[in-house]
Symmetry: C2
Subunit: 326 residues, 2 copies
């Protein structure tokens, strides 16, 4: 069976041209973000847009809900699109909305996006409370229905709490090790160790603020870091979550960072001088470039089986065990 | 294969006790109303309540989405619950919400409930415009996704328009012939003929206002009427849609009739003197009584195969061809 090519986080300005690049790039599954600060009702409008795209571009994309859709993607040479939220805003304060969202196809949810949420603490807060009372209930319900807890934008204590509290392995879909590049969004050794020791997955990010050297990061540096992680944490827990933000106008990163929560401007990982989306590295700025990472891993000395695992096999296994009721 | 027992419309005050009666009555599938005047967001709260019931009472009920769930119900001796709306309020003015609702499991939608809607005209209006511009778009979209058009509470011209406009057979899930009992909600020969000639289904109602003699209607009279219909329209187009409103307080019928659209009180099929739910006939007031109708049909002279078809076989066939994308 062909090993699939999977990117476990993108938030491009999706369009026919991006879908065609997914197809040309031979990408079999992409986890796409469909909400940041949207409430439930607003998020449904985003789902409607995706339904239209599935209707308009069936030769390139279709909705993915379980691991069988990856088989379907490989067999039909198309891309299965899996949905996720980067913030729990769409479930509002209602635990019943988790199952409703799962029924609508949502397969990942971050418990926080930078800020404190009703569930846990984001990585930009000064104080980290860990999981809240509601947060513990939500973790249990996500475990029950088969929705993956994603802690990419969460603070450390909250992340360790979620790993401990969850009965099923969780994910950090898009981040790199802090020991490689000490950005606020990258993860400490302790967090990655706890994540992977409990069966969880780390997706490596190509977002320039997470890369050593930023937009100028070298492919070889990035791939060598992955080999180091394979040695430290076990290759079976590693995948790609590129955080590709292709074609997005800067107004979108402003929305991602500020939502409706601030009258001041929050620059997140950027600065007032450099507020917009940073340019992606030249060797990874669209879906046809995933093959560059694959080749980079082989060049850096990773064997063929491990490379296939990192490029999609591991996510496939994780999807297979994560999306059904537990 | 066992022929299933199917009731294609109930709006009981659902509870553990009603679910247990479904189980004791050997009812394999029930189409339940989950919205009258609720907008989309309010309807989602009703879905959440059903999700809780499915979680709490898995030995009796589970969510039905296609014909395979009827097989599952027969094999596991449980009841598959299929969802429907009696008014298009949950889709608001947004055609994209039809597919979202289908993804959430909605399988039937009435284009109107008594009044003019954005789609068509209800049976209590003075003027019947037929399908509106939005209504024609909605019929096409319901055909595409696999949601059944139900015209039980619609006016005649609108109903004939829907039958003509729909590419797939439609349903009148709960009504009786006007020639048997000339109530406003019962359907003319012309409507039933057009419905059944195009492959549509008529579900016979046990709601007293639709019965000759009301709550005192005799089982034999009801069953003889079904035999007459079999002769006129073909037995293969007939089923049961009891409109069972068991255990409902009268406040609910007030909501059904008045929603938020009127400051005056509308009495619908009732009157100021008789405003509440009328008592069901003694031979049909809960789910264990479906067998009485079956026996009544046999006593009235219907053969075994036809009786099984009316009691569930016909709905099963209709479900099998109606709920998948068209």
């Amino acid at each position: 069976m062909t090993t699939p090519l999977i990117d476990c986080l993108q938030y491009a300005q999706f369009s026919a041209s991006v879908f065609e690049q997914m197809h040309k790039g031979g990408v079999h599954a992409v986890h796409v973000t469909i909400a940041y600060h949207e409430n439930f009702r607003e998020m449904v409008l985003n789902l409607e847009q995706w339904n239209r795209w599935f209707e308009q571009y069936p030769e390139w994309i279709f909705k993915g809900v379980d691991e069988r859709d990856i088989t379907e993607a490989v067999e039909s040479n198309r891309t299965a699109i899996f949905f996720g939220f980067q913030n729990p805003s769409p479930i509002e304060d209602d635990i019943g909305l988790i199952e409703i969202c799962h029924q609508l196809g949502i397969r990942f949810m971050q418990l926080t996006y930078n800020n404190q949420s009703l569930l846990a603490t984001g990585c930009y807060e000064d104080e980290d409370t860990g999981l809240t009372r509601f947060g513990r209930q939500v973790v249990r319900e996500m475990n029950r229905v088969g929705m993956v807890i994603d802690m990419s934008h969460s603070a450390d204590r909250s992340t360790l709490d979620a790993i401990e509290s969850s009965q099923r392995p969780i994910a950090i879909t898009h981040a790199n090790p802090h020991w490689w590049h000490p950005a606020r969004r990258n993860k400490t050794h302790e967090v990655i160790k706890a994540l992977t020791s409990s069966g969880g997955m780390l997706g490596f990010s190509l977002y320039p603020h997470h890369l050593k050297g930023g937009s100028q990061c070298k492919l070889d540096d990035f791939c060598t870091m992955i080999l180091d992680c394979a040695e430290r944490y076990g290759v079976e827990h590693l995948g790609i979550g590129s955080d590709l933000c292709q074609d997005q106008p800067d107004s979108v990163v402003t929305w991602m960072r500020n939502g409706r929560w601030s009258k001041d401007t929050d620059y997140g990982e950027g600065t007032a001088d450099n507020a917009g989306f940073p340019p992606h590295p030249s060797w990874f700025n669209n879906n046809t470039h995933l093959v560059n990472i694959k080749n980079g891993l082989l060049t850096a000395g990773m064997n063929d089986a491990d490379t296939k695992a990192v490029m999609g096999g591991n996510w496939r296994r994780f999807f297979a065990s994560s999306f059904k009721p537990g």
